[in-house]
Amino acid sequence: MANAPLQCATFFGKLIENEYVHFNKLSALVIDDISAMRHAVRSQLQSLGMNKVSVASNANDALELIKSTAFDVIMCDYNLNSPSSGQHFLEYLRNENILNATSVFVMLTAEAEYGFVANAVEFIPDDYLLKPCSESKLRSRLERLIDRRAFLMPVLKALDARHYDVAVAECNKLLDIAPDDRRRMDVLRRKSDAQLALGDHSSVLETYAHAATVRGDAPWVMMGLARTHYALGEFTQATEIANELVGKNKSYVAAYELLARIRLEANDDEGAFELLNRSSVILPSAKRFRSVAQAAFLLGKLEEAKLNTEAAIQLSNGSMVEKSDDYLSLAQTQVDMGDHMTAIETLEKNARKHGDVGMFGVAKGAILAQAYFDSGDHEKARKLMERSVSLLANRTDSVAMSALGKAALKTGDIVLGMKLLTQAVQASGQDERIIARHVKKSMIDTGHADKVEDVIDGGRKRILLLVDEATKLMRTAHFTEANQKVNEALGIHEENLEVLMTAAQLHLLWLKHEGMDARVVQRAKAYLSTLDKLVPNNQKVMNFYRFFNDIVSN
């Protein structure tokens, strides 16, 4: 803090000195759709002394820049003149874990109603500023933000390096020296983030309890508590806290979304649908419309499913959250509504830009086959099925297999249909619950309700049993025997996440207890790299990697 003052700018000939922040060492990105505004904000930042100021006119360009450069400051316009706003962009960056913890994100908004949006969401920017903002005000706010960041820096760096245990240790150091409650809350929030990343639920509960003694009604504390109880299977407590949060703030969408997930666990589909619907009305986004559409589809509310999927397409069109799968959902809904001509138009005309290769092509062909079959063109349906089956080859993709399986059942190939649907469930990994629901619905819709259990539970029950046996053997240090069970389970489905996680864990314990064995090291490496490919950036896998490196380096 005691650095020599820097000369940054003059105002009416007066020298403005800056004692706190070396703006000339900071980089910034300005995102605004209006070119003149972009450049105006850039000149203000340059006047503050920043030399490295990049600009982007839309979220897609900004995304590329953010991926390649760790900006110190990101100034994003709320109104990006496209269906998705600055808030959508921020949510996307946080959800995808793209935004560095060390980057300060400031939302610039011309509207006082930004308060409404920010009150409803979980991910809020580090600060928001009303436009137009004078240079001196910009300076004050940035100084404050950079100052706050400087205090947290060791923690933020550890978070960005994904060294979560280091981050927790740094947080503990900072808690001892935090000068006031605001700083203390800043640190506690980062500490809970790190503990969540470590999957350390019991410690994170302690951190939330600590934060609650400082400021118990902070939404992030309540939301974190609710979510942790949910993760621990304590649904009653999770529901209570989420309800309290919603009682205090009727527009807090994250709480509605958690409540919806709890309703789903309780098989209350109707309740889940209503909660999701409410959150999409409060704060529309493509992701929320998709959730509503999916819940509606599984409930057989086809009209609602159609409208919400159309809304998701409209809102994400041309943006980074655009998903070709939306067209598949829409067309499948249209087929189920008996509207095969529109479904054909959806896929052949409206979804043309997504082509028909890869797994999208497989699913597209499968849904088109259903539509043509319904229209009476059985020959065309057969050709489409053949093409999709050959495109699928021996690859496993739950969505494509599920669509193809349904098409097979519908067009009369029961054997193929059952086989594909069984595989779809087995290959579904993290999405198992939802894929299983779709498969079940497809079977009931095509008159095969009696075989649902075989298809959904067949392979899965055996896999679970084997994983269970392997875990018990592993705990009693019978590593070779445990490995046999794991191999048997992988024989049923080689990309089942649960099995792969168990296999990785088994091999790590093996190395720790029995010492280094080249073959075991080799296999451990192979499992970890498969997992990394299947679920990139998964915290559990990251921890396995660190554990592995620790063992190997010792």
């Binding site: 700018a9 006082a112 001196s136």
Partner: protein
């Protein structure tokens, strides 16, 4: 359709005004700016403030303001308010000399339990206080003082000018009720709206016999 169109037009005007302001701001960085440059900058700021006040009030009338409540350190907030105030920067009395705007540290009373922190929407409150400051600066003789007082569940902001007092206050209040288009009335209405959005707070103007005019804005905890 008409509503959408006017919203578009207003948005467009506001953006253009914002750009103009930043251009003039950057222009005024130069040492040898002619007085017209400075005047243009001041006029632009006034115009922008009026438009933003109007839009914020319009929003308040239509659907109410939704404060985005964050934790704010009060002393720092008042100091930044004064330091960054465009009204203070441009303040010249009718007699041609500079008006001093002062963050009055001695009068600031943080509540010991709250530790000098308050929960409110700093952008909205800043908007309101800036318009109160603008008003005070116009009627002050030499000096305007700004401070806060904090009680268990209230935050009180005060702006005191050393202007003429009673007569002015009457005039202000009258203008405020009779005709909202004047910038004073607009400013006061804006302050009321912002205070109300913060836990049904309120504002008042009182004349301190010969000692000037005191503006008070009370915010309560937002439930």
């Amino acid at each position: 359709m008409q509503k959408t169109l006017s919203a578009l037009v207003v948005h467009d005007i506001k953006n253009a005004l914002a750009l103009l302001e930043i251009d003039l701001e950057q222009l005024n960085h130069h040492k040898d700016v002619p007085p017209e440059g400075r005047r243009a900058y001041r006029r632009c700021i006034e115009l922008k403030n009026r438009l933003i006040s109007f839009l914020t009030l319009y929003k308040y009338d239509q659907s109410g303001l939704q404060p985005l409540v964050v934790e704010v350190e009060l002393a720092e907030f008042v100091e930044d308010l004064v330091r960054n105030s465009q009204s203070a920067m441009m303040a010249e009395s009718h007699h041609g000399h500079q008006i001093v705007v002062h963050a009055d540290g001695e009068r600031m009373k943080p509540d010991s339990a709250a530790g000098g922190f308050g929960m409110f929407d700093e952008n909205l409150v800043e908007l309101a206080l800036e318009s109160a400051l603008n008003n005070a600066v116009r009627y002050a003789r030499q000096r305007v003082d700004v401070w806060f007082e904090q009680e268990a569940d209230e935050i009180i902001f005060r702006v005191l000018d050393d202007g003429a007092g009673v007569g002015v206050v009457d005039e202000l209040m009258q203008r405020n009720t009779a005709e909202k288009s004047s910038s004073t009335g607009l400013g006061l209405a804006l302050c009321k709206a912002v205070a109300e959005a913060h836990g049904s707070g309120h504002v008042s103007l009182e004349s301190l016999d010969g000692a000037g005019t005191l503006f008070t804005m009370v915010l309560r905890r937002v439930a």
